[in-house]
């Protein structure tokens, strides 16, 4: 913040111009350094995790930490041999199915809310987002009781329902904003061309907002994949997901640091890959409407 403020006062004579795009050389360098510090600050723990994953448990605990070490794949072998497989499958299943459900349910809702603002549109939108205002921890006991009563503990479908409910408000909000960017005339043109509302949505609107849909889907997937609290409280063995598995490395005998890092790397990989694949769409989607 200070750097930005300083740049505003010390830069060019155009400082009074409406949008001073160009910053002076000095403050530019300062911002670059700041950006690097922030960037490294974010990236370093990840790098450390990946590096540690290739160390032996002994190397992982040296102080000062070793930067040069003989890399080993033992930890990964151990992670897979130790049975991360079922957990990965559970996570994958819960993530994919809940995301599909979110898109399936959220798209019509968001489309309807974007079409024609009625008196209650704002109320409905507020209701959606208000469900995110209660901390999950405050709701976990009643949820546990209900799930237990239904005999649905340690059931992957329980997580799917909860993840769908958890992501739906965000998805509706996001998708609505994308739908709002679609020019009204396109819907009118489709209607004049003989398309029903459903066909207009499928044939005209969805192709246009597909980057936004991709962004929405990815965010839902990340949230579901990383979700820990419901999983740890409502599952035991059959339906447990990867985050629950990770906790297993914190044992009474101690923390298996290198193994934990290897498992965490494995857990993070699918999200990174998904993000990588969706990168272009994601940027397009998240900046949707910023540049028309």
């Amino acid at each position: 913040m200070t750097a930005a403020t300083a740049s505003g006062t010390t830069t060019s004579p155009n400082a009074a111009a409406p949008v001073p795009r160009r910053t002076g050389r000095g403050s530019g360098a300062l911002l670059t350094v700041l950006a690097w510090i922030v960037g490294i600050g974010f990236f370093f723990p990840v790098l450390w995790m990946v590096l540690t994953a290739f160390k032996t448990e002994a190397d992982a605990y040296t102080d000062p930490p070793t930067l040069f070490f003989a890399p080993t794949l033992d930890n990964f072998v151990e992670v897979f041999a130790g049975g991360v497989g079922p957990y990965l499958l559970n996570s994958l299943f819960a993530t994919v199915v809940s995301t599909l459900l979110v898109l399936l349910l959220g798209t019509p809702a968001a489309f309807a809310l974007s079409l024609r603002p009625v008196k209650k549109t704002q109320d409905v939108l507020f209701f959606f987002i208000s469900t995110k205002m209660l901390p999950v921890v405050a709701a976990i006991v009643p949820i546990y009781v209900v799930v237990n009563y239904m005999g649905a503990l340690d059931n992957i479908w329980t997580l799917i329902v909860l993840y769908t409910a958890m992501n739906l408000p965000i998805a509706v909000w996001m998708m609505r904003s994308f739908f709002l960017e679609v020019p009204r005339e396109l819907l009118e043109a489709a209607s004049m061309d003989g398309a029903s509302l459903g066909r207009s949505l499928r044939e005209v609107v969805l192709p246009i907002v597909s980057p936004g849909m991709a962004a929405t889907a990815l965010i839902c997937m990340i949230f579901s994949w990383n979700e820990f609290f419901f999983a740890v409280n409502l599952t035991a063995s059959r339906a447990a997901t990867v985050p629950v598995y990770l906790v297993g490395f914190i044992t009474s005998e101690g923390l298996y640091f290198a193994s934990l890092c290897a498992a965490a790397t494995v857990a993070a990989l699918p999200v990174v890959i998904a993000g990588w694949i969706a990168q272009n769409k994601l940027v397009q989607g998240l900046s949707f409407g910023a540049v028309k």
Binding site: E185, A189, S191, I208
Partner: protein, 375 residues
């Protein structure tokens, strides 16, 4: 092929407020090209959108081929529309855009391709069928929008200011193309524009709207020669008709201190209205310009617009007692004495010149000073 009837059709956005379209009566014959024209906020677009089914019909009815359209969704009206910004589907190619209405109508794929090819040939789009709209120029996009409208041979074409996003040159060429295409296809067409040149050149008949009310519905020539009221008189024609409020005299009217004699029958008509003033309209081309000091109303030229083929003189009429020596007087203002005169090109008249103006008696239009109705 169809006729379209607006029968007391109204659109009221908020209850109690002034209607956007106020009891519009309009009959468009089969195959006719009708232009709705008017200033912004006149309700012309709303009227078109009511016909399209994009706006509710709050009162009266709209019938296509005798079939009441109230409550019929736009997709079931068999109407095609060209939008101002074309509303092309950005993710579809030109060919897919044009084929879309056929696809919705359940036309076979091969038949679709055939019809799209035909339309593309008519519109000169054959080479662009595989392109996306964003790779086209404005004029080409406009033609794609036209193509999407004509492929499925609808009962009625609607066009909502389809030329307003084109540059001036394209607008003129596309104007004639659209008019020719409509004649060729013979499809009933309702065209909305705020541009009176488009209205005058394209329409078989022109409906002029203002404040949601129909002012006059007539052929372009009638609209020009016999405007129904002072509003129509002032709207149609460029530059606009000169309108003066002038006192009636024994023999006619007095304009800027000069008496203009009116025929006996006209005076008799005026006599029945119990008015002492009248709105006098004279088109810019209905003046004869002579040298200062000769017969006519003296005037000072404030601005000369030389267009080559003709020239427009913007001037100020002098009261017989008036004094034109003060150059700070209104330049081209719309003051009571401001006047526009059309002369041939290269008339040699310059800014500041003194001239004398004589209106032709046949060119005088008289309107009621309050209601504006033609007398």
């Amino acid at each position: 092929m169809a006729d379209v009837v607006f029968d007391q059709a109204s659109r009221i956005y908020t209850a109690g407020a002034k209607p956007a379209v106020d009891r519009l009566d309009l009959t468009v014959s089969d195959g006719e090209f009708v232009v709705l024209v008017g200033p912004s906020g006149s309700g012309k677009s709303t009227a078109l959108r009511m016909l399209a089914g994009l706006e509710e019909i709050d009162g009266g009815s709209i019938r296509i081929d005798g079939e009441n359209m109230v409550g019929v969704s736009s997709k079931d009206r068999d109407i095609a529309m060209v939008f101002q910004n074309y509303a092309l589907y950005p993710n579809k190619t030109v060919g897919e855009n044009m084929a879309f209405p056929l696809k919705m109508a359940g036309v076979e794929k091969s038949a679709r391709a055939e019809k799209v090819r035909e339309a593309a040939a008519i519109l000169g789009l054959t080479d662009y069928l595989d392109r996306k709209p964003r790779a086209l120029s404005g004029g080409q996009r406009q033609r794609v929008a036209m193509g999407r409208a004509i492929v499925r041979e609808p009962r009625v074409f609607l066009m909502d200011e389809p030329l307003s996003n084109l540059d001036a040159k394209m607008r003129v060429s596309t104007r004639t193309e659209i008019a020719a295409l409509q004649r060729r296809l013979g499809v009933t067409t309702v065209y909305v524009t705020h541009d009176q040149v488009e209205a005058m050149t394209m329409g078989d008949r022109v409906a002029l709207l203002a404040d949601g009310k129909l002012q006059q519905f007539a052929t372009p020539a009638d609209l020009y020669d016999r405007p129904a009221n002072a509003f129509v008189a002032g709207f149609i024609g460029s530059p606009a008709m000169n309108l003066f409020t002038v006192p009636l005299t024994e023999r006619g009217v007095r304009l800027a201190g000069h008496e203009l004699a009116l025929p006996r029958d006209v005076r008799a008509t005026l006599g029945t209205h119990q008015i002492t003033e009248v709105t006098l309209g004279i088109r810019p081309e209905q003046w004869t310009v002579t040298d200062s000091g000769t017969e006519g109303i003296p005037a000072r030229v404030d601005v000369v617009e030389e267009l080559g083929s003709d020239a427009f003189l913007y001037g100020t009429l002098a009261e017989s007692t008036g004094d034109l020596s003060d150059d700070s007087a209104v330049l081209t203002g719309s003051g009571q004495d401001a006047v526009v005169v059309r002369t041939g090109g290269r008339s040699g008249t310059r800014r500041g010149d003194r001239i004398a103006l004589t209106p032709s008696v046949e060119g005088l239009h008289l309107f009621h000073p309050e209601s504006g109705e033609r007398l």
